[in-house]
């Protein structure tokens, strides 16, 4: 029915702790934090002072370069403190939520045209759900994208299935698509090859593409590369399927309701499952209940491949659709590099474990070695499904060689596409941070 794209290369991380399909609830917390650093491309300017009262949807931050773009509060409450780091760098804006939530009111109803969509989305702060490709930063409302890509395919470890997160919000999802279709001449919805949810396969006003393959087959960059490759000067906007439903709800009610369904995955959780959660919420009380206590666990806002380690007292990121908890690595291993090591995960076949492809592992945060120069070649190619030479592109980024980066395809990828390369890298190179800083530099040079 729809076109199916087969993604040959990739890898399913054999990690234990997959969430069950059950939907639980997270104990609500009262402290929320807006963290400017987590909004890529944002130059923050404060819109509030300590002690200000805000409604859910009221502005907290502006983007210095375009004050239409703003970050709004997920809850109503009081701004309790503005936390600054070294050189007065803005780290968090902390908000203490009211017991009864009140919402700022925005216009209701379906927007008439593109300008109205942009105006209402930026005013409500929901604009930040749109990501710009290239660069993987907050979309620029002045751009004319050639397409909007809606991602409803999860291949990252423990990532939530769109069919579960959209349950009960099918109408909002569909009206969200309708709104987005005003933004560009082409709207693309990418779904898994075996997807059967009617909300997805029956979606209208959108071009549906199926994708088959292991991670990173669910990454938006892969979808763009197959459907409409990005050339220099072209722009695509990308958005997650659940955010489309949030957007649809906003246009229906005229209020900002950000609650979303996320997964809690990983062996650190007593009961890995789906839960309803508010973005930006503090995790302390939640983690006291949900985390196991037998070992030290790392809590990650986001996936185990791309998320941020937030610590038990940290906050859920504004855009996270999963929480992960995996054990911290502990101790040294005597001659670990010589022994056959049947019980160790490796994509590489120097470990006997490659003969047991279906085995799953309780993976910890161990680095398993020290960082080295690039030595092996052809390694990344096995998990990197693009017509891009990964080693050469990464070396161009290493050398800050803008011209080569551009020629080798830097516009077509973001850091998450290199996550698996980073996992399997023999030389333990920090690829994602390398790609991020290179893309930031490229963006700064080109604009």
């Amino acid at each position: 029915m729809f076109k199916t794209h087969v993604v040959q290369k990739g890898m399913t991380l054999p990690i234990m702790g997959s969430p069950s399909d059950l939907l639980g609830t997270l104990e609500s917390t009262t402290t929320f934090a807006i963290t400017p650093d987590s909004y890529l491309g944002l130059v923050p300017k404060l819109a509030v002072k300590e002690g200000d009262k805000v409604l859910a949807g009221d502005s907290i931050l502006f983007h210095k370069k375009d004050d239409r773009i703003r970050i709004t509060s997920p809850v109503s409450g009081v701004v309790t403190s503005i936390v600054r780091g070294a050189k007065r760098r803005l780290e968090h804006v902390l908000i203490e939520a009211d017991a009864v939530q009140a919402y700022a009111s925005f216009p209701k109803g379906h927007p008439a045209n593109r300008d109205e969509v942009i105006e209402r989305l930026t005013a409500s702060g929901l604009w930040t759900m749109l990501e710009m490709r290239p660069y993987g930063i907050i979309a620029n409302p002045n751009d004319q994208p050639k397409a909007v890509f809606i991602n409803a395919m999860a291949t990252a470890p423990f990532a939530p299935e769109a069919s579960i997160t959209l349950k009960g919000r099918e109408m909002d999802f569909q009206s969200g698509i309708k709104v987005l279709s005003l933004l560009a001449s082409k709207t693309v919805l990418s779904i898994a090859e075996d997807e059967s949810s009617t909300a997805l396969v029956g979606a209208e006003n959108v071009e549906i593409h199926r994708f088959q393959g292991q991670h990173p087959a669910g990454n938006t960059s892969v979808h763009i590369a197959h459907v409409s490759p990005l050339n220099k000067g072209e722009v695509v906007w990308a958005i997650d399927a659940q955010d489309v439903a949030i957007l649809g709800q906003f246009f229906r009610l005229g209020e900002v309701h950000l609650e979303r369904v996320i997964t809690m995955g990983g062996t650190g959780f007593v009961d890995p499952s789906y839960v309803k959660a508010m973005p930006c919420m503090q995790l302390t009380s939640v983690m006291d209940e949900a985390l196991r206590v037998d070992r030290t666990y790392r809590v990650i806002s986001g996936s185990v491949l791309t998320g941020q380690a937030v610590g038990k007292d940290g906050f859920l990121s504004y855009n996270a659709n999963q929480l992960t908890a995996i054990p911290e690595g502990e101790g040294t291993e005597f001659f670990g590099w010589v022994l056959p090591n049947i019980r160790k995960f490796s994509k590489n076949r120097t470990f006997i474990s490659w003969m047991f492809p279906h085995r799953k592992y309780d993976l910890s945060t161990k680095m398993n070695g020290e960082d080295r120069n690039f030595v092996m070649t052809g390694e990344y190619d096995r998990v990197f499904p693009f017509d891009i030479l990964p080693n050469q592109l990464l070396k161009a980024m290493w050398a800050n060689d803008l011209e080569s980066m551009e020629a080798l395809g830097a516009y077509e990828v973001v850091e998450e596409d290199f996550a698996l390369c980073e996992v399997i890298c023999t030389s333990k190179q920090p690829l994602q941070s390398l790609v991020r800083s290179a893309l930031d530099m490229l963006h700064a040079e080109m604009n």
Partner: protein, 401 residues
């Protein structure tokens, strides 16, 4: 193992801040060799594959072991054969003797120790100077170098060759991962041109030192198969002998069957590129086959005989198999792109046979072929990369028009 860990923990302050700062790289190298360190990931991917460079390198060393062990026996066997001291009996009872192995080990072990001492010494100095950890690249080079040098080579020559190779071919370019030439072959090339009398000739590859009362058998020549071919066009050793490896030669190179065992390990573990190995074999076969066709047009009769040799036998003689499996596949100095690897390997194979057949001064062609292609590899990659870039540009212009 707790007590070892305690020793490292107790001595760490002295080398990080104390007066033994110069020993920091050595402390770190020893500690990380015994214990996989307890480093954890930062942000980015929070889990990592169990592989690291040490594991990769030690796998190559395991792959070298069959050839190395066989070489020990063969060194002793060739020595006692030259002196006419083999006991009567079948080949197996003559070959697999403790005497043979001890004879080989007695010479090879000091070579390995000297190579490691020289090479790692240079690495440590640079690690200290540039403030980085000692990389593992030399773990393999340190075994490869003794395996391709003559058994009788004075140890100081090995040390000088090793130091030259590590300095000029590696550290000058930035250390492991940055070199353009294969380190072990650079050491061998240096020795080949600096000490030709030790590295070539009939006496080089079989130890014929005699003790009181011993003498070399009348009419014995220690020439290698390739040496004979360069001189007369044919060899007194059969292809079968060469395949098994009971012929004169450097320790590692003679036994094709043992090298194949190593090749299987390297290919299964994906440490070495099967593309390079396969294409090199295809290149050599093609060149041998072309020579078969051209043999009758040659002027000298030796050349005619040499070129008429069945084309597949080229794979069995000399260091071809060893070079292709363990040196052409060096990930750093070979082509880095997957398409480039096919071209790289193919040209290594062709050039090895061309040099071997046409240049009697260098009966061993594979060394120069690989070194030459090491230099050419970036050029091959350049064109593969350019093709990728132009595909991208084409897509964008087609779209624009």
């Amino acid at each position: 193992m707790k007590f070892l860990q305690n020793i490292f923990d107790a001595t760490r302050p002295a080398v990080t801040d104390g007066k033994f700062k110069a020993l920091m790289p050595m402390h770190n190298a020893l500690e990380t060799m015994m214990f996989v360190p307890d480093h954890n990931t930062d942000n980015g991917s929070h889990v990592r594959d169990a592989i690291d460079l040490k594991r990769t390198m030690v796998t190559v060393i395991f792959a070298l072991m069959p050839a190395l062990l066989f070489g020990l026996f063969n060194a002793g066997y060739q020595h006692y054969k030259a002196l006419g001291l083999l006991v009567d009996g079948d080949l197996i009872s003559q070959f697999l003797t403790l005497d043979n192995a001890l004879f080989g080990a007695w010479r090879l072990v000091p070579m390995i120790l000297v190579t490691y001492a020289a090479g790692l010494g240079v690495e440590m100095v640079f690690a200290f100077k540039n403030k980085h950890a000692v990389a593992e690249g030399f773990l393999v080079s340190g075994i490869l170098i003794p395996l391709i040098m003559p058994l009788d080579m004075p140890l100081w020559m090995i040390a000088v060759s090793t130091i030259f190779a590590v300095l000029i071919a590696k550290e000058v370019f930035g250390g492991t991962g940055m070199n353009i030439l294969n380190i072990a072959l650079t050491a061998r090339a240096f020795a080949f041109f600096a000490y030709p009398s030790v590295m070539s000739g009939d006496k080089a590859w079989v130890n014929t030192t005699t003790e009181a009362g011993q003498s070399v058998v009348d009419g014995y020549s220690g020439a290698t198969a390739l040496g004979e071919m360069a001189a007369t066009g044919s060899s007194s050793y059969s292809a079968w002998d060469a395949f098994i490896g009971i012929i004169p030669g450097s320790i590692g190179e003679t036994s094709v069957v043992m090298i194949l065992l190593g090749a299987v390990l390297l290919i299964v573990t994906r440490i070495a590129s099967w593309k390079i190995m396969l294409s090199a074999v295809m290149g050599a076969l093609l060149m041998g086959w072309i020579f078969n066709g051209l043999a009758s047009y040659m002027i000298s009769p030796e050349q005619q005989v040499y070129m008429a040799m069945p084309f597949y036998e080229h794979l069995l003689y000399g260091g071809f198999a060893f070079g292709i499996v363990f040196m052409a596949t060096d990930p750093v100095s070979s082509a880095h792109t997957e398409r480039g690897k096919w071209i790289f390997g193919f040209l290594v194979g062709m050039l090895s046979i061309i040099i071997r057949v046409f240049n009697p001064a260098y009966p061993e062609g594979v060394m120069l072929a690989i070194l030459f292609m090491n230099v050419m590899a970036p050029l091959i990659d350049h064109y593969v990369v350019a093709a990728n870039i132009s595909r991208r540009q084409k897509r964008s212009t087609v779209k624009a028009s």
